[in-house]
């Protein structure tokens, strides 16, 4: 972390960047938030630890419109999102100075709390660099520990790899965290009967409060004007009835990023209701891989994405019914 600060101060001082986009400590030890740093003294609050899960690439859309270069810290998975935005001409590569930061998996506070660790006062072992395998918590109920892997975000268990796709320099070491199959959960749902599937999604999606956090945080979901903001749209708001509205919202949200979603997992991370939103995106990714060949959004600068491309021999939509 000190290395990141030192390098940023150096670049700010020689004027090669005008501002730094990073994370600053929040009011609790586990909720750092994205922030701009423009002066040397701002760095007092700078933090980079296991809780810095926020993907900063979306903030670069606005940062690229500002005067001067912006230094941004990107984790390996964030660079996929950044490259996808570059491909769509939403960010200007010339206006960004990218420092690739090391990642050994990011932590999910909700998952930690579920293990009975509550009333947290301070945390050790969550540093981004360092060999710590266990997290120690000082809570109002006494000392508690949990293994680092048990507190990790779901997305880190199915990590795409620790290679930065786009960067100017890399600071810090990464550690491989993949230990699960990315599509295992999707396959589990696919094997259910239609009634079970419907009940599962009804249960999950009825928790939705339509706060739009999943939409706002998504680096792929970056239209200036969103279809869900239209007041002419009679199901734009949440209703207290069991209706199709949430499903419609989540299908369309996932559909609008299909083929562009890098599976960064931000939607599930920010959901205040803990809805596994990545299940929608991953279903589209799985189908795209199955029908149109393996594809990883953001892994290259190829202009053709699965939904803006076609071949004559593509499968017919009836394949869905035939598959059973």
């Amino acid at each position: 972390m000190q290395e990141l600060i030192a390098r940023a101060k150096e670049l700010l001082a020689d004027g090669s960047v005008a501002r730094v986009l990073g994370w600053k400590a929040g009011d609790l030890p586990y909720n750092p938030e994205p922030a701009y740093f423009e002066k040397e003294e701002d760095f007092e609050n700078f933090v980079y630890d296991g809780f810095c899960g926020a993907n900063l690439s979306k903030y670069m859309i606005e940062a690229c419109k500002l005067e001067g270069k912006t230094l941004v810290y990107l984790k390996p998975c964030d660079t996929y999102s950044f490259q996808e935005l570059m491909k769509e001409h939403r960010v200007d590569r010339e206006k960004a100075y990218i420092i690739g930061v090391g990642c050994k998996g990011k932590l999910d506070i909700e998952k930690i709390k579920k293990q009975g660790i509550k009333g947290i006062e301070s945390i050790s072992g969550a540093e981004a660099d360092g060999p710590a395998e266990t997290l120690s918590f000082r809570t109002v109920y006494g000392e508690k520990t949990c293994s680092y892997a048990d507190g990790m975000l779901e997305r880190c268990h199915v990590c795409k790899g620790k290679e930065h796709m786009v960067f100017d320099e890399i600071i810090g070491e990464s550690k491989d965290t993949k230990d699960a199959d990315r599509f295992a959960e999707v396959e589990k749902i696919e094997a259910m009967s239609p009634e079970e599937k419907f009940a599962f999604f009804q249960k999950e999606l009825s928790k939705c409060i339509r706060c739009n956090a999943c939409r706002n945080v998504c680096p792929a979901c970056s239209c200036r004007k969103c279809v869900f903001d239209s007041n002419k749209f009679d199901s734009a708001q949440k209703a207290n009835v069991d209706s199709f509205e949430e499903k419609m919202f989540h299908i369309i949200r996932a559909f609008h990023v299909a083929g562009r979603c890098t599976d960064c997992g931000e939607c599930s991370r920010v959901c205040p209701q803990g809805i596994p939103l990545h299940l929608f995106n991953r279903k589209f990714i799985k189908d795209i891989n199955e029908f149109y060949g393996e594809y990883q959004a953001g892994a290259d600068m190829e202009p053709r994405t699965p939904l803006t491309d076609y071949v004559f021999e593509d499968v017919e939509p009836s394949v869905v019914t035939e598959r059973g």
């Binding site: 749902i189 696919e190 259910m192 239609p194 009634e195 079970e196 599937k197 419907f198 009940a199 599962f200 999604f201 279809v227 009679d234 199901s235 209703a239 009835v241 209706s243 199709f244 509205e245 499903k247 419609m248 299908i251 369309i252 996932a254 559909f255 299909a258 929608f280 279903k283 589209f284 189908d287 795209i288 029908f291 149109y292 699965p306 939904l307 803006t308 076609y310 071949v311 004559f312 593509d314 499968v315 017919e316 939509p317 009836s318 394949v319 869905v320 019914t321």
Partner: protein, 147 residues
């Protein structure tokens, strides 16, 4: 007797037809005096790829029991490639609907050319029959959207 007669289920079926092929196909079905059920409401679109996945979900929300999309045969699109894109989109959308537990017979894509009046009418007859067997759409409706 008429009092005891329950109201028969009349499905509402929305058919998105491309202006250049399927809409003309429907015309041909009409002028050839081929019957197809009156439950099918045709919406003319400039091309099958004009149909946004949202159109289909909105049709269901507003009370449709089945939605069918008809376009030119792949390779025959008036705009050269529109139906290829539509094909990929619809495949993904239908797969997603199946994934969340919607009966997968409620949606369908069929390629109907301007010369295929017979195909148009048989497709519609089959589709209406299928919807009859599935019954009313209860999972996809939204109360607020009904007029």
């Amino acid at each position: 007797m008429s009092i005891e007669n329950r109201e028969e289920f009349r499905p509402k079926i929305v058919a998105f037809c491309c202006n250049w092929c399927s809409y003309a196909g429907a015309d041909l079905a009409g002028s050839s005096r081929l019957a197809y059920p009156a439950d099918v409401k045709i919406i003319r679109v400039p091309c099958s790829c004009r149909v946004n996945p949202m159109f289909i979900l909105r049709a269901f929300e507003k009370g449709a029991d089945g939605v069918i999309l008809c376009g030119c045969h792949p390779g025959d699109c008036h705009y050269t490639t529109g139906n290829f894109y539509a094909r990929r989109r619809m495949t993904l959308l239908f797969s997603m609907l199946e994934y969340i537990g919607i009966e997968n017979g409620r949606t369908r894509v069929e390629w109907v050319s301007a010369a295929e009046g017979v195909k148009f009418s048989t497709t519609m007859n089959e589709f209406v029959e299928k919807i009859h067997s599935l019954g009313k759409n209860v999972r996809l409706g939204d109360l607020r959207c009904r007029n």
